[in-house]
Point group: C2
Chain length 226, copies 2
């Protein structure tokens, strides 16, 4: 059961069901401020007071956690339409940074919550989205706990394809290091695994960030749909 790994507001081309009905966000959208971000620019840091939510308009954002000695984990990549900061308590539980040039909308959490709390159907939608996000987290835990490097990369590619709603080609906005930190691998292993999949005719790499799927069945077999 593949699932989007982030909360989402409506986007016609997105193949994910259960997103907000368009008018749910109508009044909420008016609260938002458009913010452009440079490559690597942080939206917020872990443990900062959580004063805003964000929605990605274009580009990509990653969520990171650092261990004491510098090991990094990338929890999620947020793409156009994805909602960020949703699961924050009073402080953010991860750092969020733009992967590429990105545009987001920033919402005051106070205002957003004030409106959302008054509208039971919005709260219900948020709950449904949280549950979808939990389900995606579940899949990612299976991946991190039990899948091989090849299976992780296959799952990652298929997940992006589904989230993009495109049939067979994706542009990766993130680096090999980002992918490795998301999948519990090193940059080198990610690189070698892409090379292996290319050699096996499963994917084509027009450039290191431009992936075309050549053999979707093989990719799905590797991803081990559970």
């Amino acid at each position: 059961m593949p699932a989007a790994t982030a909360l989402q507001s409506p986007r016609p081309r997105r193949a994910v069901p259960g997103a907000f009905a368009p008018d749910d966000f109508a009044m909420l959208d008016r609260l938002g401020t458009v913010v452009p971000l440079r490559r690597e620019q942080p939206l917020f840091h872990e443990a900062d007071p959580a004063e805003h939510y964000f929605k990605v308009i274009s580009g990509a954002v990653r969520s990171c956690n650092l261990l004491a000695d510098g090991r990094r984990h990338v929890g999620d990549f947020f793409l156009a339409g994805d909602f960020i900061g949703f699961n924050a308590a009073s402080t953010y539980i991860f750092t969020a940074e733009a992967v590429t040039e990105t545009v987001v909308v920033r919402y005051s959490r106070r205002h957003f919550d004030a409106i959302a709390w008054r509208e039971p159907h919005i709260v219900r939608h948020l709950l449904e989205l949280a549950c979808k996000s939990l389900s995606a987290a579940h899949s990612q835990m299976v991946l991190l706990g039990r899948k091989t490097a090849e299976e992780r990369i296959a799952s990652f590619i298929l997940d992006l394809v589904v989230r993009n709603g495109v049939d067979d080609r994706i542009m990766l906005p993130m680096s090999r290091t980002d992918i490795g930190d998301h999948l519990g691998l090193t940059m080198e292993t990610v690189s070698r695994t892409f090379a292996q999949l290319r050699k096996d005719g499963v994917i084509e790499l027009k450039s290191s960030h431009d992936v075309t799927i050549r053999d979707r069945a093989a990719l799905e077999a590797l991803a081990q749909a559970d």
Copy 2:
């Protein structure tokens, strides 16, 4: 940020904030049927229609996912007070099985939802709980993606200690294999790592299921609080 890995209803000795206020579940509890379970008995299987929620009264339940070739992942252990099935869509996303002799309360999902949906404050509580669960899933992904075997075991022990609200001693209801499948390790590695921690004076093992913490600071250092 240690967090309980499962949704919870109130339990006085539990050190986890944000659980339901006692009366929130008052009317919901009346919907429940008490069900005793034998060791290894399933509550439900992955992909079954999700017709019930459950709450653990005593004992322990695990959630499992199987890959095609038999590799197993244990997503969570649910202990007394924990709520199960919450994040299900129309079908369950994992199999739930009793780890030991266990007693649960079973709720009709239809009735539960009918009441919960009518009570905005209950929906808000459920949303908060879902967010806590997401936060716990986040920590688990960091563990699975980036921690060593020793760090995983240390984190696991501390998590159980916090969830039990006990200071320095825990009874593990689950097998070494269960622990391994939860932490992305093999049974043998789990066993060797417990032995290592004992040898280092960090824990004491009165039996293989009875763990006493001897050096909490060392354990916390290993767990790499993030």
